[in-house]
Structures are given as C-alpha cells and as structure tokens.
C-alpha cells in the first residue's frame, strides 16, 4: 500500500520536475529535490540541536503564546479571507457604488458605520478591506471600515458589556471613540494619503474566460489565506516575544500618572496583540489603571497591533502599514482621551 503510494508520489514529483524544468530551466530542476530534502532535514536538525534550548521554560512559554495567538486568529482569518474571496467573485462592483455615497467624504462615515456587520476580530477585516478596494471602493472608505469593523461589531460590544458590568458608559465610549478614529483616519487618508504608498492590488482573477466564479472564489480565498496566514505567524511571533520578554510587573510602574498610563496602555495594546473579542476582559483586569487608560487600550488594540501591522504590511505594503499604523495610534489615543474624558 505504502509502496504504491510512494511510487505515485515519485511519479508525480518526476512529472512535476519535467513541468518546472520546462518552465524555469535546468537550475530550478536541480534545486527542487534539494529543497524538499532541506525542508525535512533542516527543521529536524534544528530541533535536535536546539532541543534543549527550545525546551527551556522561556522558550516553551514563547511557543505556547505564539501558537495560541495563531490558533485563536486562524478561524477569523479564514472567515475574512473567505469573505474577501466571495466579494471578489460574487459581488459585482456596482453594488458598492450604489450603496456608498459617490463623494468619498461622505462614503467614509457610511463605511465606518458599516463595520457593524462584520462579526469577528481584526484579522478578518484586513483581507475584506483589501477586496473592497479591489472592487472599486475608495481606499479612504475601505480603511474606515477596516478600522471600525473589529471594534464596533455586536460580538465585541457584547464582550465589553460582560467585562464591564454596570458601566454602559464604557461601551458607549468604546463605540464612539472607535467610530471617530475610523472616520478621522478615513478623512485623513483623503487629505494626505497617496496612492503610491499602497501596493497595487494583485488580483488572481486574470482569466475570466472559461473559469467559473466558484473557481475564482476558491483560488482567491486560497491565495489570500496563505498570504495573510504567513504574516499572521510573523505577528504572532513578535507578540509572543514581547509577551514573554516584558513581565507584567512593569505595568505597576506606569499606573500612577494619568498621561503616562494612557500612553503605556496604548503601547501595551500594540505589543500584546490580544484579539478584539477578548481585549475587554484584559482591560477589565488592568484595574490599577484609570478608566480612560483602559478605554485607550480597547480603542487602540483592534486598530493597531503587531499582528495587524504584519498583516497590513503583507496586504497593502510596508510603506503603507508603517505610516497608517503610526497615524492611527495618534488619532486613536487622542479620540479616546477626549471622548473618555467627557463620558467617563
């Protein structure tokens, strides 16, 4: 049984080599078996040699946190990429031009409010926003949606209500501050944004002839998932590094000063990369901090964090991700300080 399988695999590999050889020349053909061999041998050797190191308590904790972030985010990333694939394949561009106001200045607030409809966390919103741009939605509106969706959908607001029982002002403040940030960022993009910061949208829909919509959906879905998944792993690794390297006891140092604690929790939201459906519980547990600081944590977290920056860099390009994330942090901190100051 196994030998037949092996033979089949061998045959397929040989066949494939012929294909790649014809496509890419003899150099490629040579490197291929080596590559496969390396794929097996190198991790095995690394695991063997670094076994002791990987099993040290710190590395174990790092691996657990890294895997936890990835596993937690995968279903939502899958949902987001499936939705984005579906938008590309099944929803005609005219739907969006009919629903959204023609003038970008007005389209931004509408798209921001439309974030309510995407139930999930921030990983889902990046591919969806990308596909919206691909369908001709003005980038400013797509970005307003990207920022608001993970923060104001019903799932997240319910979680916030559960985490802060008896404090409806907290839910209202979170909703408002997130919306305002999304709108301001959309308008900022209209005012200052440049198209060249955005990587041109790569579409895998080049062959409409003969290709069914289902296939278009499937290939788009698959490509987006694999792409975003790789960047998700980068983000998870970065978040795990901070999680393990910076002990929580550092928190207490900053909880004294009002302004420092707001800035500090904003920074913490970025490096911890907690999923937006859970960040309310984390914020509730940071009881040493002022309510405004905790609000900032919940407004910044779903919009900017390490795994999101990695995902955005992968989807829209690095030039965009850095500028956009930096601006978003500033706007989000200001708006939560203002709205938190008034409401809380």
């Amino acid at each position: 049984m196994q030998s037949t399988e092996e033979r089949a695999v061998e045959a397929e590999t040989a066949d494939l080599e012929r294909v790649t050889g014809a496509e890419a020349g003899p150099g490629r053909r040579r490197s291929r078996p080596l590559l496969v061999l390396g794929m097996v041998l190198v991790p095995a050797a690394v695991l063997y040699l670094a076994g002791g190191w990987l099993d040290s308590p710190a590395m174990k904790a790092w691996r657990t946190v890294c895997l936890a972030v990835t596993v937690q985010a995968l279903p939502f990333l899958l949902l987001g990429t499936a939705l984005s694939g579906a938008i590309n394949a099944f929803v005609p561009a005219r739907v969006f031009s009919r629903v959204l106001p023609r003038r970008p200045v007005l389209a931004v607030p509408v798209a921001g409010v439309a974030g309510v409809v995407l139930p999930g966390c921030e990983c889902a919103s990046v591919p969806v926003a990308n596909s919206l741009i691909g369908r001709g939605v003005t980038p400013a509106a797509a970005f307003a949606f990207l920022l608001s969706a993970p923060a104001i959908n019903p799932v997240v607001l319910t979680a916030t209500a559960v985490a802060f029982p008896g404090q409806p002002a907290m839910i209202a403040a979170r909703l408002l501050a997130s919306l305002v940030t999304a709108w301001v960022m959309g308008w900022l993009w209209l005012w200052l944004g440049r198209a060249e910061w955005l990587r041109p949208v790569v579409r895998h829909t080049g062959h409409e002839t003969g290709a069914g919509r289902w296939r278009e959906f499937r290939t788009g879905f698959q490509y987006d998932f694999l792409h975003a998944g790789g960047f998700l792993v980068v983000g998870a690794m970065a978040a795990a590094t901070f999680n393990v390297a910076v002990p929580r006891s550092v928190l207490d140092v900053f909880s004294g000063s009002a302004w420092l604690s707001v800035l500090f929790l904003a920074g913490l939201a970025i490096v911890l990369a907690v999923c937006s459906e859970a960040d309310a519980f984390v914020a509730a547990s940071l009881s040493g901090f002022s309510t405004v600081a905790r609000l900032t944590f919940m407004v910044v977290g779903p919009m900017v964090d390490l795994k999101l920056i990695a995902l955005q860099a992968g989807t829209f390009g690095r030039a965009f991700a850095i500028r956009f994330s930096a601006a978003t942090v500033v706007v989000a901190v200001l708006s939560s300080a203002l709205i938190g100051g008034v409401l809380l």
Binding site: T64, V69, Q72, H207, Y223, V233
Partner: protein, 249 residues
C-alpha cells in the same frame, strides 16, 4: 511557492487543527473551550481547500498536454503562490508533532497575582464539610472581604500547580486563567507556608488560613499554612480556577 506545496500546507494546517481538537484536548492549552467548533470547522475548510486544489491541479495536468504553455501564459499567479506562506509550516508542524505545554510556573512567577475582583458583601455561610473544597479566588475573597470571618479556623482544600516563591519558607499555589487565548494569561496565586514541592507539579493542598493581618479586611494575608500536600492529576482544562479534584490515593 509551487502548487503541490500550497496543497500540502493547507492540508497540514487543517490536519493540525483537527488533531488538537477532534483527536485530543490539546487546544485547551492555547484557547478557550468555546473555540472548539470554530477550530474544527476551520480544519475541515482547510482540508477541503487543499483537496479541491489538488483535484483541480491534477485535472489541469491531465487535460493539458503542454503544461508549460498553460502555466507560462497567464496562470503563473497560481503556481507562484505567496512566499510568506512558508511560515505557516511552523504552527502546522508544531501542532502536529511538537505541541508546547500549557503555560505554567515560568509565566506565573513573572506576573503579579491578579488583583482581587469586584468587591463583594453578600457571602453565603460556608458548607460544613471538612476539609472544605474551595477555589483560589474564593479563598482570597473570603480572607480579604468576608466580614463574618467564616473562614477562620476552617480546614480548606485547594488545588493548583506549584510556583516557587522568593522566600524560603513558602511557595505559591497557582492557577492561570485566560479570557481568550494564552496570550492574555493572568495568574491567581496563593502563598503556602510549608516545604515546596517541585515547580509545575499539580498538587492538592489542605490547610488553614495563615494568620497575618486582620481577617476580613484588605490587610489579611492571602496565605495558607499547609497541613498536607498531595500530588494531584492535572485537570484537562488547566486554565480555570476550579474546585480541587479529589486527589487519587
């Protein structure tokens, strides 16, 4: 990234997710129980994607006498998949062959104990059983907030894992609680006076409140004088503050 590799990657990720959810409880080391159906669905979707891609790839190669003509034309998007996807191999293989353990003493020793939850005033009278099974959080509440001082003189039983303390005469009985995934872990720690077992072992401890400070107020020490410490089985879902399982004898 070539098509067969993409197919392998999708299938491996899917199988990895199913392995930790359908064939065992490993997922409880990373996320909450409620994620299980979502993870199973994701695993199935990933495997289906892989299979669908394998079928279409196989069919295309069978149909096409000259694959290079086809691939070189306009379809190279498909074969040249995203390069970043390689990284997905790390979690996929890790889930399949090298799953890291649940967070334990290392994490707990680096974090302060979770701050006492919302203030409470209405405490029910304690059941009469002795030793009295109680959770770490409840014990802390009783010690610091129960004005009736019902816990005074009672022998209680708690379970958790061992975290070494800085002082030689005591250690911490610990539970780690997560609200979403292991990235937001918080620890609940209870100081135990007595000889310390090996860190990270799960134990059931019986003992009485360690008298220090005024019981029923904030000044009371959340600590226990151990009468007996027995090794206990690690609970399936270790990220919870549950009543102790009856220790195996």
């Amino acid at each position: 990234m070539r098509r067969p590799l993409q197919i392998t990657l999708l299938a491996l990720s899917g199988i990895g997710l199913l392995r930790i959810t359908l064939f065992g409880d490993l997922y409880l080391r990373y996320v909450k129980e409620g994620m299980r159906p979502l993870l199973i669905a994701s695993g199935v979707v990933l495997i289906l994607l892989g299979v669908a891609d394998a079928v279409s790839y196989g069919r295309r190669r069978a149909d096409d006498g000259h694959p290079h003509h086809h691939d070189g034309g306009h379809g190279h998007d498909h074969t040249g998949g995203p390069r970043a996807a390689w990284l997905l191999l790390v979690p996929a293989l890790s889930l399949l062959f090298y799953a890291p353990p649940a967070l334990g003493a290392y994490t707990a020793s680096r974090e302060p104990s979770r701050a006492a939850v919302t203030p409470r005033h209405d405490f029910d009278p304690l059941p009469a059983t002795s030793p009295l099974p109680i959770t770490l959080s409840d014990f802390a509440l009783r010690v610091q907030q129960d004005r009736s001082r019902a816990i005074k003189g009672r022998t209680v039983q708690l379970s958790g894992f061992v975290t070494a303390g800085k002082q030689a005469d005591s250690w911490f009985l610990t539970r780690i609680i997560i609200s979403c995934c292991a990235a937001d872990a918080q620890s609940v720690k209870l100081r135990i006076y007595g000889p310390a077992p090996r860190p990270d072992t799960w134990v059931a401890v019986t003992g009485t409140w360690h008298p220090a400070g005024a019981l029923g107020t904030r000044s009371a020490a959340v600590a226990l004088d151990a009468r007996s410490v027995a090794e206990a089985a690690r609970p399936v879902n270790s990220y919870s503050d549950d009543l102790p399982l009856v220790p195996t004898r």
